[in-house]
Symmetry: C2
Subunit: 116 residues, 2 copies
């Protein structure tokens, strides 16, 4: 992606899972869809995506099947499994926690405001 490599680390898997929540997709499509949904902020590289998909498939978070496109080309579709949905929920919860932490620090931190 164009952003600081580090920032993206850890969120890629969550984003991939999130995409599949709205329906089965094939790799190439995910890259376009991620770019579209993020208003071009995320330009995921194939070298990033495919290893993630393979790891998730091995871990049974995704299942895969091949299907012929109208053009005649074969596409490998990925489908979110129940286990994958659970992982997505965990990743999202972690993102919320992390995100809140960063915002707290950027806004000056937990001050005298919070008590009890």
């Amino acid at each position: 992606m164009k952003l600081d490599k580090g920032l993206i680390a850890g969120s890629s898997t969550m984003l991939v899972l999130k995409l599949l929540e709205s329906g089965d997709m094939y790799g190439y499509q995910m890259i376009e869809e991620l770019s579209r949904r993020s208003n071009q902020v995320f330009q995921m590289q194939e070298g990033t995506l495919y290893p993630i998909l393979h790891t998730l498939e091995k871990g049974k978070y995704l299942s895969a099947y091949e299907q012929q496109a109208p053009t005649g080309r074969m596409r490998k579709y990925y489908k979110l499994t129940r286990k994958g949905r659970q992982l997505l929920a965990e990743k999202q919860a972690e993102w919320e926690k992390f995100h809140r932490g960063v915002e707290d620090v950027l806004s000056g931190g937990a001050d005298a405001l919070s008590f009890s």
Copy 2:
């Protein structure tokens, strides 16, 4: 930190710079302060912090000076330079962009809503 290692990557430098924006600090103090401001979300390790401080100092983003604590112990304080403030601004802008991107994807993505 306790969160997925990857999520933190890239944000650590920004958080360190942000801490120093409110005043000079020494390493050990930054770890405690970061924890406090983030409501215990960030527990930065020394093995993470010190290399970051050294890198930032080498790049002239921070300057350092030693000062004796009331206890008699020596502490190494870090001070944000003008260049450091500029880097912080850049890092924050990048965080905003990244953050917005993630939220857009998590909320379903850029749909028919946005036009022009």
